[in-house]
Symmetry: C2
Subunit: 513 residues, 2 copies
């Protein structure tokens, strides 16, 4: 057995059975091993950012890491932006990165790069395999690292000789430690804080928002103590819709966030981090939390927030509480595709169990409240601010959650970074409907430029304008094998959305906004 | 004057007047400064790999660095693969990478990343600006570093407050040291070696191949001593065609390269590195140079190889020598687009002064010898093995060499990594004709898999096959604003090529091979 074969066997034994791939020469033995050993689903991406973002979406839906297969340093580099997002989402991923043979590296052949150095900035765990005999155990440790709660990026670099040399040894799966619980003092402290009756926000993240049951526990705490619930600004996965507790997120726009949190005297973090602004702005604070508010921790992001909520409910003796009524589900809107009309139309047509992948950026800021009354669904957002997360996330989510319709709310500027994902959606016939919000500009940056106080001239406008030439997304999608059509009204949007949901496979709606 | 303004003024004073941009929030003050200060040509790319690859192409044609404008760590990461290629091409580039404000970084906001760490693997010089007062001098040093012979990647990281704070100071351009000459002993040693009459190869790189005059000097040395001329495998820029000295490159395929260099007893490196194989293969050597050959250095890559050749000609008293006759220029081929027929057709129609950007990968290996007799042209190749170099290189080359037709010989698999470059070609109305070689597979990897001795099964084939669905490149190109048509024969290829050359602007020919 060669090293590559021991690697594939070990990954399978450790529960990794899906590999998002963009292989190159130095990974050919790994590819050959995938051929000989059954059980690994291999999904090809035509750009590494698709591969890593899809692995993120897959793990967000399954809770298990996928493997990625990437080619040498520059191949890894192309995948870093979405690994950065995955790291911020606390997603488990096992990257396998091919590299020069150990004895060839000193020759500094053209493709030789500092693969480890590039891996470190996005990985919690990095190791370069040294011999075929230890690749198996390296892989088992990588999976263990990835699955360490709440989920980490592990990168195993695979010099080609460690792959092709004989002497590979399959390693057993290593134990994955359970999610750490909060210290009892964290629970009693939170209960004490809540009983003060001060204006308090429970800031939720992690499995406190991904689990409908945890959300309900948080709601019981809030109902019993008068605290407000809020979710952190970006969440890997958030349970929403009818029957779920509606929770707003900390807004992206600084002034809005400050206003929303004004008057807060106490904040208790529940699997969330203390909110900070996405960027600094001249003469504005770096956090939307009032300076005189005390911040306490019920559960750190690396502790089991759902469990902490259950114990807090017990500590408080908080009874079951009726859920707030989100009102009737919106009906499809008519006319021009304004943000609220689009949100209402999507909410109206959303099938139960849908997965929304949100990279709507500026246009989509108003989508969230209007979808509370939609059918139960999960909401996946970009988490690290690296754009181009949407199409790959949708691709991976569809593979991780077969039978559920994935709806991408997708800004055009961001989609351009990873549009190759559409091809994978077509090849795998994934149930993804992309609503491509085509405003033909970097709208968010026009807002940011205005915030800077600049009166944009020709040069600045040219750098923020995606028109001239206009991008034709129906051609791009069909060129990549995904059926597509254009909509300019909510009626057409509704028709196309309903049609795409009613059948198998991917579809793209270019919505001119 | 704020820091951003001092930066723009300093770049202009230092001779950097072109900026390839993909800006984000933290760069808005830089964008605003570009608006207020005239003289910088800003070219928008919709993905960072386009931006960095275009800067590479621009500098290869002008000999001067462009600036890039990139957004934070992940934005830089998306540009690393083509920076890696540029580093291997010894191209000067000045990257400006926005980042979190100095005082915001400790808060670890979502987009915070190890920007410096990611920059290092592709840069010879990295600095993070600390105050607006020193951004100007930082920029001047960055340009100096980039222009240090033969050309380097310099990355200046720009925390947003160093950009928006007042107190910016414009810095004068710093002196750029002249290209170092070879030590006289290197010249006399080379002459001594050559006079031995042993089978000797002059291995050329750098300005020994980019300059037609240097090539002619090398030819005089060869003619006077019986040495063979050869160019290194990948070259940033190579002067070719009628009236230029024809020089073959070290082949990519190991066995071919070994055969070609068999019998060589002496090798003299002239701005080149000792050839090593692109990858290691089991039981094959890491270099195609015979083990018993002596390797000498006339000029290191960081020494002026053209000057060294001039002095070697003097030392040897090598007279002018008639150039080898490359034979008649090929005529356009007919029928099926086999590799040689395509090469003949391109050679026949190539306009004088054309720039070929070669990312033809496996299909294009036979293109080189058939284009010796074409009109004089420059040949730009991928240099670092990171694919996706072609479309951005072509874009930047067209901006750096206006009035010259750029012809991209472009493999489909590679083009998918940076297809967004087509949009920039359309927006800037660049004279680029892309011949998109559509074989709908990673052909090179099928070859590599066979070399591994594997008999590929379904899983492996699926990972190397770009069909299912077939990519429609005419739709992709037109979707991005570039006119396109499909060719299945050499006749159609010739027609479309001639038409595209006869008019302004970009065109894409999808050639089914």
């Amino acid at each position: 057995m060669n090293g590559a074969e021991s690697l594939v066997h070990t990954l399978l034994k450790s529960g990794v059975d899906t590999c998002f791939c963009n292989p190159g020469t130095s990974e050919m033995h790994f590819v050959a091993a995938l051929d000989r050993i059954h059980g690994m689903r291999c999904v090809l991406g035509l750009f590494e950012g698709v591969v890593t973002g899809a692995a993120d979406g897959y793990a967000r839906m399954t809770g298990r890491p996928a493997a990625t297969l990437l080619h040498c340093g520059p191949g890894l580099a192309n995948g870093l932006a979405n690994l950065h997002n995955a790291r911020r989402a606390l997603t488990p991923i096992v990257n396998i990165v091919g590299d020069q043979a150990t004895y060839h590296r000193p020759l500094d052949a053209p493709l030789t790069a500092d693969t480890e150095g590039w891996a470190r900035g996005a990985s919690a765990w990095v190791r370069t395999a040294t011999t075929s005999a230890t690749v198996g155990v390296d892989a088992a440790v990588a999976v263990q690292a990835a699955r360490t709660y709440p989920g980490q990026i592990a990168t195993l670099i695979l010099p080609s000789d460690t792959s092709w040399d004989e002497g590979g040894i399959v390693a057993d799966a290593l134990p994955v430690p359970a999610a750490p619980w909060s210290d009892p003092a964290q629970i009693t402290n939170a209960a004490r804080i809540l009983r003060r009756g001060e204006p308090t926000v429970l800031m939720l993240g992690g499995n406190a928002v991904s689990s409908p049951e945890a959300l309900e526990l948080a709601h019981r705490v809030a109902a019993a103590t008068g605290a407000r619930l809020m979710a952190q600004g970006s969440n890997g996965r958030l349970a929403r819709g009818q029957g779920r507790v509606p929770v707003d997120r900390v807004p992206y726009v600084v002034d809005t966030a400050i206003k929303l949190l004004a008057g807060t005297r106490q904040m208790i973090l529940v699997g969330a981090r203390k909110p900070v602004t996405f960027f600094a702005y001249p003469n504005k604070p770096g956090t939307s939390v009032p300076a005189d508010a005390d911040v306490h921790i019920l559960a750190r992001p690396d502790q089991d927030a759902a469990e902490a909520l259950a114990r807090l409910v017990d500590e408080l003796g908080a009874p079951r509480a009726p859920l707030p009524d989100p009102g009737p589900c919106p009906t499809p809107a008519r006319g021009a595709p304004k943000a609220e009309a689009v949100a209402a139309t999507v909410a109206a047509l959303l099938p139960e169990g849908a997965v929304i992948v949100d990279e709507a950026v500026s246009f989509g800021r108003g989508f969230f409240p209007l979808t509370y009354a939609a059918a139960p669904h999960d909401w996946l957002a970009g988490t690290g601010g690296a754009i181009g997360s949407g199409p790959p996330l949708a691709t991976g989510a569809a593979i991780g959650a077969p039978g559920r319709r994935v709806i991408g709310l997708q800004a055009d500027g961001s989609a351009m970074y990873t549009l190759q994902a559409l091809w994978t959606q077509a090849r795998e016939n994934l149930d993804v409907t992309t609503i491509l919000l085509s405003n033909r500009k970097y709208q968010i940056l026009l807002g940011e430029l205005a915030a800077v106080g600049a009166n944009p001239g020709r040069t600045a406008l040219d750098m923020l304008d995606l028109g001239n030439p206009d991008i034709d997304w129906t051609r791009l999608a069909t060129g990549l094998g995904v059926e597509a059509a254009r909509a300019e009204t909510c009626e057409t949007l509704a028709d196309l959305l309903a049609q795409s949901i009613a059948r198998k496979g991917p579809f793209l709606i270019e919505l001119l906004i």
